[in-house]
């Protein structure tokens, strides 16, 4: 089947088997390899993308169910070559080590701050509970998000 959706503001189509994951199609068919495949079980959040306003694990989304949706991946977060404040804050605080979890944290942060520009620490911890980082111990990431909270970003 052919699915057509809007990804990062651009209309894209792909020839797929309906049961394939959105993650596979993003990475293998559409050249958008920013979303990472670390577990394919919904556990790690490294594949997080925003579909019609919902932050989802793209490894668990069947691509056949995405016809006509609007999708934001990590590739759609920066403004051209200028990093988004979320990305800059993570970089400044040293929140990237191996970087595998980073796209998922960026998407979850973008989703969180869009709904709640000034989350408290508890709201942040809950929002990021589906994003696992094996390297940083989360401290640097939380400091980055803490800095953004209230910045109106």
């Amino acid at each position: 089947m052919i699915v057509t959706f809007t990804i990062n503001g651009e209309e894209r189509s792909a020839t797929v088997a309906g049961w394939e994951s959105l993650l596979t199609v993003l990475r293998d068919n559409l050249g958008l390899a920013g979303s990472k495949n670390a577990c394919e079980q919904g556990e790690c959040g490294s594949c997080s993308v925003i579909v019609d306003g919902a932050n989802l694990c793209s490894c668990l989304v069947m691509v056949g169910d995405c016809e006509g949706t609007t999708i934001t991946t990590v590739e759609g977060i920066a403004h051209g070559s200028v990093l988004h404040p979320i990305q800059q804050a993570i970089l400044d605080e040293g929140g990237v080590q191996c970087g595998f979890c980073t796209p998922g944290f960026v998407i979850t942060a973008a989703h969180l701050f869009a709904a709640n520009p000034n989350p408290d620490e508890e709201a942040m911890r809950e929002a990021f509970s589906g994003n696992i980082c094996r390297c940083t111990g989360y401290g640097a990431l939380l400091r980055a998000f803490d800095r953004l909270a209230g910045d109106g970003t």
Binding site: A54, C57, G64
Partner: protein, 267 residues
């Protein structure tokens, strides 16, 4: 058939009747895990998450495709509590109550709530129309239900008299992203306490003996609560597996049930 995204129930039911080999898809948080593990290569998929009838949530009828994210903000306290413990925000934005019920995992967190309030499962097929099934006739084994191959779960039906207080708790190795070792709902209504537990038998169960004992007490003493917890621990039928042991599950069942009765009393 490769993939059909049904926009309404009759389209989904027609497809279900015509393509018995096809799988139903709601949020995908159970089905896609199996597909990704290659346990499964669906011969066809009927997606129901956009069926209007399944998205409606009004009064006593909760549509099967209502997500945990919506249930988290809902009026039923124990349902909201348990919804908030499911997976992560990403899982709750996709996963549905109907999918939880259809999967019928012994650890499914929605199931003890359904058992505690004596909810019913509404199902539909193109040939036989709507059928309403009592929860204890719906769940019959590990991941086994009495849903017929041409049927779709359309809603969870709540009883006319809802409990005045209801509480949920679960035990797992951490706070989020955790499948229960034991989960429990206690509901307190006009007729007394109802106690339901999951992960301690192939299907969700009620602790009927413990209910009878506590409901016979005129004022609930500490000794009565201790005896109640002992009966709950005795009444459950857990196994040992990779998540926990039989002994721990028995112990935790009594502790949780007692704690939730106390919370209902304090509510």
């Amino acid at each position: 058939m490769d993939f059909l995204a049904a926009g309404d129930l009759s389209t989904a039911l027609d497809a279900r009747a015509e393509h018995p080999e096809a799988e139903l898809l709601a949020g995908g948080t159970d089905l896609m895990v199996e597909v990704n593990l290659s346990y499964h290569r669906p011969a066809g998929v009927i997606a129901v998450r956009s069926c209007e009838e399944l998205l409606e949530w009004e009064g006593r009828r909760i549509g099967a495709a209502v997500t945990w994210a919506r249930l988290e903000d809902g009026p039923h306290r124990a349902l909201a509590q348990l919804a908030r413990t499911i997976g992560s925000p990403q899982i709750r934005a996709a996963g549905t109550l109907g999918g939880n019920v259809a999967t019928a995992s012994p650890a499914g967190d929605g199931l003890p709530w359904i058992a505690a309030i004596d909810a019913e499962i509404e199902v539909a097929s193109q040939r036989r129309g709507t059928r309403i099934i009592a929860w204890d006739e719906f769940f019959v084994g590990v991941k086994e239900t009495t849903l017929a191959p041409d049927e779709i779960i359309t809603a969870i039906l709540l009883p006319e008299h809802m409990p005045v207080s209801q509480e949920f708790a679960k035990v797992g190795v951490r706070n989020v992203m955790v499948i229960a070792m034991v989960n429990c709902v206690v509901a307190r209504g006009e007729d007394g306490f109802r106690v339901a537990l999951g992960s301690v038998a192939p299907v969700p169960i009620r602790a009927y003996r413990a209910e009878e004992m506590i409901n016979a007490e005129t004022s609930i003493s500490d000794a009565a609560l201790t005896e109640f917890a002992r009966i709950v621990s005795d009444e459950v039928r857990p196994i040992s597996d990779h998540r926990s042991t039989e002994a721990y599950r028995r112990h935790a069942s009594g502790v949780l049930a007692r704690r939730l009765v106390e919370r209902c009393l304090a509510a």
